[in-house]
Symmetry: C2
Subunit: 554 residues, 2 copies
């Protein structure tokens, strides 16, 4: 690595070739700034894993250079890793008012609030982080109070968009600051990092405002109670639900821990207005005329422990879904969640509810928070960057985004489709990618951070598919006499009457193997037992359980 | 159950409230006819399960009454259970030419071909099954040679649609026989069973023919090799791919076992025409000009072992995806498969391929094989049934279908939304649902049919989440002295340096527990060890591995 004073480096520790665990790093000489610290939910192949976070060993090695963690907005894939990060590195955090509120909830849960340095910024802030002057611009997204960031370094300006769309008729009337973006672009942008979530989708994302009318309409036509489920953090959506309830003379109940938490932070900090007396307690629902009630709940993604899932399986004491009630999914299922969402919809139909579900394009009950192709081109056009790095997306999205960049005039050679850890170094205004640093997945499982690795996951997978057999045998130290056993215990493999016969056969085969083994070395004996039993079981059952021979020398 | 001669009963052993493992039963007096015998793929919660089939204990109890298994078409959810069924009940099978061909592949694999009685039927057949005269009508679907069935019983006519759409410009020019359907309806239909897959979708499903033009267009514009993936059983789609290849001067390679199998059956039986010299071997690809090659392969649903997945991970010896190659997904992902399909798309993009993917509505490369709402209404209108049972769908689909039936004049009280096993009995033209029979899921795992139950699945789930610990200890018969151990072996739980410390603590705690236990009964000792170690591990790791204490008395 070149240590010249004008060294500028940009890379991601998460968020490239994935949706989730965003973390981007700008290093200008000896000043490191971190952008976002998200978490990611594991897919079903990562058995037992609770959460995925970034490998921050690079940052730990250079901790004296870290000036700040700047958080663009309050979504989980941008703030979810913060408590785990802070347990390893105590770094000052800069974020807007609502974002700080959501971070504080997490810090409280992890007992980290007191020791953390939190700094409030807004779109007009200017902060100096060593050699990097940092300014901000307002964007719109599916959560209020989002920022894009301009890093003015000695080498030039780096812009990071955060997550955004161009909602020109936003619910809170705070439109994205296109003039400021134009000005930044006019002054020259050396490199743009822009999000790619919707880069596959043509056109523009509709305004959040359009959802409000559809919700009001549905409330008006609902003959009895209305349940509506959306992301708790979509405060503008929540505001529109509040407004629709007001207009249709319904009172509001909040169900689900994250809904209650976010609404309370958003109200406290002035992002959400709910008139006095409109909110009511869950146990008041029974006393109300059903046509006067809206229940706003979590669980639109089919999360099994969330409010909607419990309502659908009649597993909620104080409220129930009854025939003629209306249930609205004000969110499209995220890829991977379709099956669990469908199961809930089926259950709700079986309870006799009218269910409004499916793609937001069809129901009008949801719009995306991310820019589609025309908006991505607008951002690229406003910024006119010399270099471009598409971020925040899986590979095909990055690829589409890079084609969009080319189409508005960015030179093909100046576009870098990276992996997490790939470093773009800029020296004398010229960017190159020649090196990479460690940037893998760290698994959080229970209290453990990073202690679950491939061996454990491989074992869990083996165990999950065909279960296991423990074979215990005690042998005289001389090695010639079996004292107890073989005894075989199985879990997740076979069970019931047919199993006994098979286990008997296993035990006989083990005895035979021991008798036949000339080598009395434990390791060899175990290996012999394993391979003979593996063969036996596969030929009898076509299954391959994990086999654990235990030999005790007495 | 009423045993009067005029008893007529209808029920499902699979296919209601699910997509998969279709099996419907018509019983007229002492004659039982079975329609279809499908299998279903397990979702990710059914760890290690290969396949799900029907519980046929009712049929085993009444096997002397079974006259036939009639198979409507050759898809897995209609034929996949046949080998397992035949191992339990040897029943004559009636099906059309192509369907028989696909069934025979399965019977060969299971060594059942010789002993099975197979009967060829077509749309003009009339078969007498005891008191039931059975006729057929031609339908269109995403596989050729599909039939709907009319059962003319002493009580009246029962119609089963099979899977269908109304493709009025079919690729093979065999349009659905609307006139015959109209005639059946005109003569009076007592009860209709109609499929519900697309009952949520408005409008009509486009003709398969439209796909052909899009494929030809893509072939023409592809600068180098073309890979195209679709369901092997969609013979009309395969024919259109062949035609497009012909028109664009490309030769064809087949990749994937099921593609080779189905194409060979379809050619043998006259459902597919491939000109001589057009097919080539995989190893010839290297010798060809890339713009003269089409590779037709399996794996459009992201199946990890199928051809496309292996191509995407460069795991195929004789063919590889190279920059500028084109890869076409001629199939929409089935819900639940989105993530694996996306992973493959990303890999293909990384290899430099142009990938045509996404919903068939957008790409034009896929149309559904199932009737949408307007077509379902057409079927209901043609048949004018007195009673209606929506089948072949999850609950929300059945519900939508029943609303469609109401909208074209079926009386609400005459519509039965059932569960598998719910019986509709018809006596004197009046239908009632008052009873149910057993109709659960039977799991196939390796060679085992039905031997994997809830206990095994629960254990696999436990093992998959947090792994397990085996604790072995030998104690003197008197119970007072520990002779060896405690020794702890863990799998899928903790690993590496931190783990040793924890295991030491576990062993100490086990020794302590044994010392403190007054009761020397093995069961009590094991329970004490289990509960103390559970608490210890949860407090240290927030994980709950399965704990297996093994105590050996010497």
């Amino acid at each position: 690595m070149n240590n010249s004073e004008s060294q500028l480096s940009i890379f991601a520790l998460g968020g490239i070739n994935e949706i989730g665990k965003n973390m981007y790093i700008i290093q200008s000489s000896d000043d490191i700034v971190i952008i976002d610290c998200g978490s990611k939910f594991p897919d079903e192949s990562l058995l037992g894993i609770d959460l995925i976070i970034q490998d921050i060993s690079f940052l730990q090695e250079h901790k004296e250079k870290i000036r700040a963690l700047i958080v663009t907005h309050g979504h989980e894939d941008h703030i979810g890793g913060i408590p785990y990060f802070l347990k390893q590195l105590n770094v000052p955090i800069y974020a807007t008012n609502l974002t700080l509120g959501l971070i504080e909830i997490k810090l409280k849960e992890h007992g980290l609030l007191r020791e953390t340095r939190l700094f409030l910024i807004d779109e007009d802030s200017t902060i100096r982080l060593g050699t990097i002057k940092t300014t901000f611009f307002r964007t719109s997204h599916s959560i209020p109070d989002c920022l894009g960031i301009a890093f003015h370094t000695p080498q030039g300006t780096i812009v990071h968009t955060g997550d955004f769309k161009f909602d020109l008729t936003p619910v809170d009337n705070h439109a994205p600051d296109i003039h400021k973006m134009a000005e930044i672009g006019q002054n020259g942008v050396l490199l743009l990092l822009s999000e790619s979530t919707n880069a596959e989708r043509p056109g523009s994302t509709p305004s959040e405002r359009l959802v409000g009318d559809h919700i009001e309409d549905a409330f008006r036509h609902a003959p009895r109670k209305v349940f509506i489920s959306t992301f708790a953090s979509n405060v503008h959506r929540v505001q529109q639900i509040v407004n629709a309830a007001l207009k249709t003379n319904r009172r509001l109940v909040l169900l689900g821990r994250s809904m209650v938490n976010v609404v309370s932070v958003a109200m406290d900090r002035g992002y959400l207005e709910i008139p006095d007396g409109m909110l009511m307690e869950t146990n008041e629902v029974r006393t109300m005329n059903p046509e006067k009630v809206v229940i706003l709940c979590t669980g639109s993604q089919g999360e099994p422990m969330a409010a909607l899932s419990r309502l659908a399986s009649s597993n909620f004491r104080q409220v129930e879904v009854l025939p003629e009630d209306t249930v609205i999914f004000a969110a499209s299922p995220i890829p991977g969640n379709e099956r669990s969402v469908s199961r809930i919809i089926d259950n709700l139909f079986q309870l006799g509810a009218k269910v409004i579900y499916g793609s937001g394009n069809v129901t009008g009950m949801h719009v995306s928070g991310h820019a589609c192709q025309e908006e991505l081109k607008l951002m690229l056009t406003l910024m006119k960057p010399k270099y471009f790095i598409p971020i925040h997306g899986e590979y095909r999205m990055l690829r589409h985004h890079s084609l969009l960049a080319e189409s508005v005039g960015v030179r093909k050679d100046n576009i870098f489709i990276l992996n997490n850890g790939d470093v773009v170094d800029i020296v004398d205004q010229e960017a190159i990618h020649t090196r990479s640093i460690d940037a893998g997945n760290i698994f959080v499982d229970g209290f453990g951070i990073g202690d679950v690795g491939n061996i454990i996951l491989r074992d869990r997978k083996l165990l999950s598919e065909d279960g296991m057999l423990v074979i215990v045998i005690t042998i005289s130290k001389s090695g010639n006499k079996i004292i107890t056993g073989p005894d075989t215990i199985s879990r997740g493999f076979v069970y019931g009457p047919g199993a006994e016969e098979l286990i008997k056969e296993v035990n006989q085969s083990v005895s035979q193997t021991i008798k036949n083994s000339k080598d009395r070395n434990q390791r060899v004996l175990k290996q012999n037992i394993k391979s003979s039993i593996e063969k036996l079981l596969y030929s009898r059952t076509k299954r391959s359980p994990m086999i654990l021979p235990i030999i005790i020398d007495i």
